[in-house]
């Protein structure tokens, strides 16, 4: 069946309706990836992937079935449609199940002219050589640099149709420093790009993080326990921001009723310096979402605005289930609005504390209590960053700590996937061995 993806999507949608679906949605994606791999500082592999995806959702009397397959021939589509309807018929009905209502149909194109593998190879090789010159003690345990392209069509039985074509480059090394038998903790970073016009070494925090790894070959244990100030680096953003997003603002904890913020919409939940948003349309985000899995056109969503809880991160289903407004986009592309402090001034303001570069800890439970090990982190003493630390634990409550934001930096790490500043918190427990 050599049909366009729009024709395939509409064919599957009609088949779902004919098979008994009251409401239905269908998404067809064709994707390609070209990826260089590095292991232990050396090129190891060139990988080319072609894949297809057919995603089907059928609602029959409020009963839902979802099937995804990676074949787009007629027999595979027909079987997937049958399977999807069978699944829906055997499900439990739920009035909250729905699909997006009709809105303006749109097409988006973020193509960059296809892969330039010669340039990608050159940039990757240049990065390895620069690293060898500038940071000879760095070992790249693994690294991928890649080009990805995807073409997607979404249609639903309310008449919604979105088309999106998107291409981008990305790279992400995992590395540590090694000197004889001494080794630093591993660290990782990366960026998503639309152009290969700059050396990877000069993008984002790359050079700074490699330098930090080398400085972390010799560490010092914190030999006491104190409650104090911690500067959380953008590289450690998942410790707080992602946790808030997934554990307190999303469908799961709100449907369960376990989110500590379930009744806090419109209330102050953080210091007024904090504005946290999902920003897929921000120009610093590469390949951001253009339509949600529910079939709505994506818009930026302020979750916390000036410290006030402005929106949950609810899907259409979650929204109907808890009778609260849905988020205007689905996930990712996290932005913390920059503050007015310079990072240098933030460090100067700390008499004794930690610059937290990475956090190895468990996801917090519903209480929000978090504890874990400070990785790739440094002591701050008398307003200056001093020694790298090891075997040091930090603990705090991720909800309560938002009231203790002392400052947010002007500088942000903008890696194409998120826009995050440094943030100075007070009241975090730091304990050594």
């Amino acid at each position: 069946m050599s049909k366009s993806r729009q024709e395939l999507a509409l064919y599957a949608l009609e088949a779902l309706k004919k098979a008994g679906a009251d409401k239905a949605a269908c998404k067809v994606t064709r994707s390609r990836k070209e990826e260089f791999n590095i292991e232990a500082n050396n090129f190891s592999l060139l990988r080319t992937l072609f894949n297809d995806e057919l995603y089907l959702k059928a609602l029959i009397g409020g009963k839902k079935g979802v099937v995804s397959v990676n074949k787009l021939d007629k027999d595979s589509i027909d079987k997937a449609v049958d399977d999807c309807v069978t699944l829906a018929k055997s499900a439990t009905p739920d009035e909250a199940e729905d699909i997006a209502e009709k809105a303006e149909n749109k097409s988006f194109s973020r193509n960059i002219g296809g892969p330039d593998m010669a340039s990608l190879f050159t940039r990757t090789k240049e990065f390895l050589e620069q690293s060898k010159d500038e940071f000879p003690k760095i070992i790249f345990e693994s690294m991928a640099s890649e080009f990805t392209a995807s073409e997607t069509t979404y249609v639903n039985s309310n008449g919604v149709e979105f088309n999106d074509e998107c291409e981008c480059y990305s790279y992400g090394p995992m590395f540590s420093a090694k000197d004889g038998e001494k080794s630093s903790s591993f660290n990782y970073t990366g960026s998503t790009l639309t152009r290969l016009d700059k050396p990877f070494m000069d993008i984002g925090l790359m050079r700074a993080l490699l330098d930090e790894s080398v400085r972390s070959l010799d560490t010092r244990m914190v030999d006491e326990k104190f409650v104090g100030k911690v500067i959380v680096a953008p590289t450690c953003g998942d410790m707080i921001w992602d946790t808030l997003l997934y554990s307190f603002l999303g469908d799961g904890s709100l449907i369960e009723g376990t989110s500590r913020w379930k009744d806090s919409l419109g209330e102050k939940v953080a210091d007024s310096k904090l504005t946290m948003r999902l920003a897929p349309l921000n120009e610093g985000i590469v390949g951001g979402e253009r339509f949600t899995p529910d079939g709505f056109e994506a818009q930026n969503t302020d979750l916390i605005r000036d410290g006030v809880l402005n929106s949950f991160a609810l899907s259409l289903y979650g929204s109907k289930k808890v009778s609260k407004p849905r988020a205007l986009c689905s996930s990712g592309a996290l932005e913390i609005v920059a503050g007015d402090a310079s990072l240098a001034d933030m460090i100067k303001s700390v008499e004794k504390g930690i610059l937290l570069g990475r956090f190895s800890g468990a996801s917090p439970g519903a209480s929000g209590d978090v504890s874990g090990v400070a990785k790739n982190s440094f002591l701050i003493e008398n307003g200056a960053v001093t020694d790298a630390i090891s075997e040091t634990m930090v603990s705090f409550n991720v909800v309560d700590i938002l009231q203790n934001i002392l400052s947010i930096s002007k500088e942000r790490n903008e890696d194409g996937s998120s826009l995050l500043p440094w943030c100075l918190f007070d009241g975090i427990t730091v304990s050594g061995k």
Partner: protein, 460 residues
Amino acid sequence: MLRDLLSEHKSSFKDYTELRAQVNTSSRVTLLAGNMVSNAQSSGGGVSARVYKGGTFGFASGAEYSAESVKNILTAATDNALFMDNHVKKGQPPLPTLTADNVGLKLKPGSEAPQSVLIDFANELDSIIEKKYKKLTSRTVVADYLGIEKMLVVSDGASSHSFQPRSTVYVFMSAETDDGIPIELFEPFSALGQFDTLYPDPKNLMESVDRLYEQLMHKREGVYSKAGLCKCIMHPDLAGILAHEAVGHTVEADLVLGGSVAAHNMGKQVASELVSMVDFAHTALGKPCPLPVYVDDEGVVAEDALLIEDGILKSYMHNRESARHFDVKPQGNARAFAFTDEPLIRMRNTAILPGKSKLEDMIASIDDGYYLVKTGNGQADTTGEFMFSVELGYEIKNGKLGKAIRETTISGVAFEMLKTVDMVSDDMLWSCSGFCGKKQYMTTAGGGPALRCEINIGGR
């Protein structure tokens, strides 16, 4: 079941080549507080080829599985290998040829339970939990199935056909302390096999589910642990994740070459002499492993890898290329999760071996410490520094279990912490419910006995 469209292409292999057809099928039903938030099936399959030339690989994969697409993918992988060889110029010789084996199916695909079986099971178990346990604020029941079928031919003559079905039930429970703080616990049940065979009746799980509720009620009354270094008993669940995260990853040969702590410890004492650790292929201590691997995705027949023996680091885990580098025999650790994935060095069934002590004697031997029972997740560094969450534990006071403790974290450096092990229980538990993440996902199993050791515990 996959048809063999691969063998006919063997004659066109010029360099070291793997040609693999694969299909992963999964089903999942999730009930969140009684709401069926997930009722989904997926299937992803296709063909991939990997070609080695001069020290680098070319790889390609495509979703279509036909005689024509196999040929195209083989050509694309060969072109990628040539590109790399021309640009990188490592000048390495071809990979050594191994004894060629043909490993056939041990389990047959094609008898997956219909989705209605998972739905009925989840609904019934959820209904029992809702009616029986009155102090819950929420609950989640997940019924999950994953089947992986692979067919492989390799240029040195090896070939295989394998199928690994895994069925899992997850039960999550939430409650609140008297002062309104939410607390949670979960229990996974997972094993090799089809869902309807393993879980014919939800009532069969109730002994464990009852215990989970009881433990959650203990946790409601839990106290914060006292931060610092202390004497602990680690439940086998924690020993299993310790074996995997803190030790297993550091002895994967690609990570050794990437600078892991194990690089300088071969043949050295890295643990108490009570500690031995093995990455089992398919049979452990006379019984089938939870997730048996008979042949890997480089066509190497799987054997056990003895990693630590009586506290001495004995070997790493390898693929064909790293085995050549270290001049050892590969033992079948090169595994790929999806058809789009190239084989990486992965664990299979990794366990610390049981010892001679009785768990009750181990607990009785501690005056002031903790019995650490359940973990949520864990991470480890290539330095061997690790961190695990502790979702459930108990105080030990004067040799007896005391109050439960609230969620906390333990941390340490594996090769230092393992030297403090001075008692190892004579029993052993396996777990195979999770996924290991290392560029790709992978199904793995971890196991072990209870350990008495010193460890750094978080707290207030």
